[in-house]
């Protein structure tokens, strides 16, 4: 059954979403990674992404991290708080989206890596820009499909590249990504956990294959919503797995899991103008 949210539920959902984004921005503040804290970075990484080329062509990332970067960050956090305070204001959501997009590009280009962890934060606000409740619900459901696609296509990439057949794929990913930590930290609790895992390559390689199959299970979500709670749990387990095996932080991506969540104030009903699929 499609979850169609009423106007009041949409407002509460907006508060939940913007609380998550605000927490993410506060985390950035306390870790010296808001744009004004990047100390006017110079090395950039547009790679072959035309959107980054366009943004650099317009000088936007450079401007947003320049001498007025603190103004940008104040506006970004202010817009986020505004969206929380006034969950029905579409103009505030538009402003937030534009600012967060610039922040997203700035973080990735000056971090010299196009990281995927903030994609969820970037896209989760999109449904709130429309006035029509049915349109909101369809966009929200669209984000659910995007989440399904993210994990399913990760499965397909591994499937077609045959990396799941590669001997020691899991253990090699783990060694590559944790080598620096282990070199500097030989006897911490976490180092000992890693040593134990590295001493059991069959287990780590098995975890990689398990994660690969878990990603594949998301394909089921395209055909039925009956397993959404399972997919929600799998999302969390996969993100934990990315961290353990690859030191990759995808926690912020989990905000898209709200589209799998059984969030509801009222029992599901058919509403005029909304056609359940």
């Amino acid at each position: 059954m499609v979850k169609f949210y009423a106007a009041e539920e949409r407002k509460i959902l907006a508060r939940v979403v913007f609380t998550g984004i605000l927490l993410s921005l506060l985390y950035a503040f306390f870790t010296d990674t808001l744009l004004h804290q990047l100390e006017q970075p110079v090395l950039r990484y547009p790679y072959v992404d035309i959107t980054y080329w366009l943004m650099h062509g317009l000088g936007i990332p450079e401007f947003a991290t320049g001498t007025m970067a603190w103004v940008f960050d104040v506006l970004l956090i202010g817009a986020c708080i505004g969206c929380w305070l006034y969950p029905g204001s579409r103009i505030l959501v538009w402003i937030f989206l534009v600012l967060y997009f610039v922040y997203f590009i700035g973080c990735n280009t000056f971090g010299a890596h196009h990281a995927g962890n903030k994609i969820g934060m970037l896209l989760i606000a999109v449904p709130f820009v429309v006035r029509n409740l049915a349109s909101f619900n369809y966009l929200w459901q669209g984000l659910r499909y995007l989440l399904l696609f993210a994990f399913s296509s990760a499965f397909l990439w591994k499937l077609f590249r045959l990396s799941w057949l590669q001997p020691d794929q899991g253990i090699l990913i783990m060694k590559k990504n944790w080598v620096l930590y282990l070199y500097n930290n030989t006897d911490t609790v976490w180092a000992n956990v890693l040593h134990w895992l590295l001493a059991h390559p069959a287990l780590v390689n098995g975890l990689f294959i398990t994660g690969f199959l878990m990603e594949g299970f998301f394909i089921v979500g395209f055909f039925t919503r009956n397993f959404d709670k399972v997919l929600l749990v799998l999302s969390v387990l996969l993100v934990m797995g990315f961290w353990v095996t690859a030191d990759a932080n995808f926690v912020e991506l989990l905000i898209l899991c709200l589209t799998l969540s059984p969030f509801r104030l009222q029992p599901p009903v058919h509403r005029p103008g909304i056609h359940p699929s």
């Binding site: 985390y27 010296d32 072959v48 890596h113 349109s135 669209g142 296509s153 060694k175």
Partner: protein
């Protein structure tokens, strides 16, 4: 078909259908081509076959001749900026001062495109930026910086140093 999600969107609103269908097509096309064009994201991380390396190479930063930086003393978000730009700077220097993306595109398109990549200006300014960011994060006054490349091998489960050489010092 009549129960499909996109069909219902089509029945509800043609403009919304067009936006969502274009986004879906763009995302599928980006994944088929393997070329990410924001906001059409590609989710192929960790899908390449890993090859067992003879050695692992890491960068080790020493501040003012005394303090060896362990980026794991800092949260993941900070680590990203302490590690990734420096590693990319090294890739550029290892490539003779040419941004590797320039070569990548040259091989694909048979023409040399240098903008918007890192040319001499960005490379010369990099150390000043690295110094500023390190000072902010560590709270130290940075007078001298030394970056070494450490070559490691795994002895059982623990990496051990094979050799080390100076990359750059400022």
């Amino acid at each position: 078909m009549k129960h499909s999600f996109l069909y219902n969107v089509w029945r509800h609103s043609r403009p919304l259908f067009v936006v969502m269908a274009l986004f879906a097509l763009g995302t599928v096309a980006a994944n088929l081509a393997g070329v990410e064009t924001t906001p059409f994201f590609v989710w192929g991380m960790y899908s390449e076959k890993e090859k067992k390396p003879e050695h692992y190479h890491i960068l080790q930063t020493t501040i003012n001749d005394t303090a060896v930086l362990d980026i794991y003393d800092y949260p993941a978000a900070t680590r990203f900026y302490l590690g990734s730009p420096l590693a990319y700077y090294k890739r550029i220097q290892d490539n003779g001062g040419v941004d590797p993306t320039v070569n990548f595109l040259e091989n694909k398109l048979h023409t040399r495109i240098e903008w918007p990549f890192n040319t001499g200006v960005q490379q010369r300014e990099f150390v000043n930026w690295y110094r500023r960011y390190l000072a902010r994060v560590t709270g130290m006054e940075i007078k001298k910086l030394r970056v070494d490349v450490v070559r490691l091998r795994f002895d059982e489960q623990q990496p051990a140093r094979d050799s080390m050489y100076l990359f750059e010092q400022w």
